[in-house]
Amino acid sequence: MSRIPRSYLLNRLVTLVLTILIAATLIWIIPRLSPVDPAEIALGRMAAGAGSVANADEILAQLRAQMGIDQPLIVQYFKYLGGVLVFDFGLSTASFPTPVSALIAQALPWTLGLMVLSLVITFVIGNLLGALMVWERSPRLVKVAIPAAMVFTSIPPILSGLLLMWIFAAKLQWFPLTGSYGLTVEPGWSWDFAQSVIHHGFLPALSIIVVTFGFWALGMRGLMITVQGEDYTTLAKAKGLRPRYILYRYMIRNAILPQITAFALKIGLLIAGQVLVERIFAYNGMGKLLYDAILDQDFPVIQGVSYVIILMTALSVFLVDLVYPFIDPRVRHEAA
């Protein structure tokens, strides 16, 4: 990418760092706005397991020290910032003393694998269907079927997941009910493992795709309508190009541009939205991690996951900013 001017790169980098910094600060502040004392809560959780806790004060002091909340706020803040830079979010309170980063490292590949893949598929399918809704040559059936299919968007993902599970895993037994790979398959670079991962990932991915493609389709529809009225579409037709070619190279190619930015912006939101699907399929990705952390009020983990989501969003926005001029030649790398 030698063609990116340095000043532009610098400008984008500053924005990136600033965004991350502010967001990281916010996720540090937000939990602290809550009047509850995290150490008391952690103690409460121990009690919840057993009904009582001996020598509570001693444990409480320990907890405070472990959580670092016995220090002045400003010290805590800078320690946190320093840690965050090297992906050190402290120790999980619910599965103490596992570092949050270890938990995230365990979950991240699954999320990247399944969630990002299904997001990409959703994006592709959604946009394609949105385009077909507008395309003059789509069969009539398609034009009726797509809006009808968009009704799925109103179904909460957990329900779509359960229904799919019920049909395809329980009744038809085509796919496994839970897990991210087979019960006795050992993770590794083997065909067995890969096969198992795909087999297990299918239903969770499908339940996400089914409920989210509608958003992309709707957005794409609007963009396609605009593109359809453009002069270059008319000329393409006058050139006698094949309709399908016009659809892909002229219409979709132009209409998709704003969607790409939207995708980058939404990536974090979408990951966080799939929490429950991961849960019902016992698919141990970031969503599941977040879900458990929410149940456990495990703030370091919630913070860590949020931070990773923020980082992913900010980075994808950054990347899109960098790449955009290459996919839309009209846009130049301008520091502004």
Binding site: T19, P156, Q303
Partner: protein
Amino acid sequence: MSNFSTDDNVAESTQPMTRAEKRQARRMRRFDNPWLNPKLLWGAGLLIGIVLLGILGRILWNLDLVFTGSATLKLPPVGFENLRRQPGVWDHPLGTDGSGRDMLALIVIGAPNSLFVGLLASLIGMTTGIVLGFTAGFVGGRTDDVIRVLSDVMITIPPLLILVVFQSAFGDVSLTMMALLIAGFVWQSPTRLIRAQVLSMKQSGYVQMARLSGAPTSHIMFREMLPNLIPYLFGSFIANVTTSIVTAVGLEVLGLGPQRIPTLGRTIYEAINAGALIQNLWWWWGIPTLLLAVMFIGLLLINLGLDEVSNPRLRRLS
């Protein structure tokens, strides 16, 4: 015999003239008054249906039935039998849930609640978006930078985080509070888009013209620019209502919503938690889902209809 039609009825023009002409006349009337758009009317009808359900239900139905233990548990809707071979009864036409609450009463209260959260969140989000978008686009400079970074940051922060903190702090959220929280996550795209629109409108001829006419800034913002954004704002509002409802339901399904107030999302959450699927209690999760779908279709139709109203290019005759 044109190849240019984009609407559903490509084949239409080859049909015998008489039928086509009748159709034509009907379409023509529609064309004349864009607000008589069938999509718009159907969509609005569905939403009004939900509201009516709320109003009539409150008048005609005994709402005390939403309380736990109001009836036999897990009764099916009239005309069905549950796994225990109990038939549905007219006292509870839509059946009861796992705690013996009447489904009809639940949706009479829950459906308008869900709609309310969506509308309120969207309203707040849009208002924020309009104010910030206009400010950013119009004032520019530092203010613009601040707003842009702020919305970029807010777009990255997962709503769950805030809700979790909020709930652990206050134990419970009210519907309004929920709407406010969701609003915190739907203002960014309107802000971004309105900002872009304002920037481009600022360059447009009629704004220049207004400046030339000595119009004050307030006039330019609210009398010249805003009206032109209305179709867009409407569409965006409707889209946001959908997003807000889906978000709200998503949070409720996580158990992170109002705890005591029936909403569609909460009902689904309870159904799922109680294993309603395997117990074949389809009415428990199915009816609220159906209502969500109705709401969603209504909003979708309104959105499509508004598109056609504001964009004549879509308003084809055939």
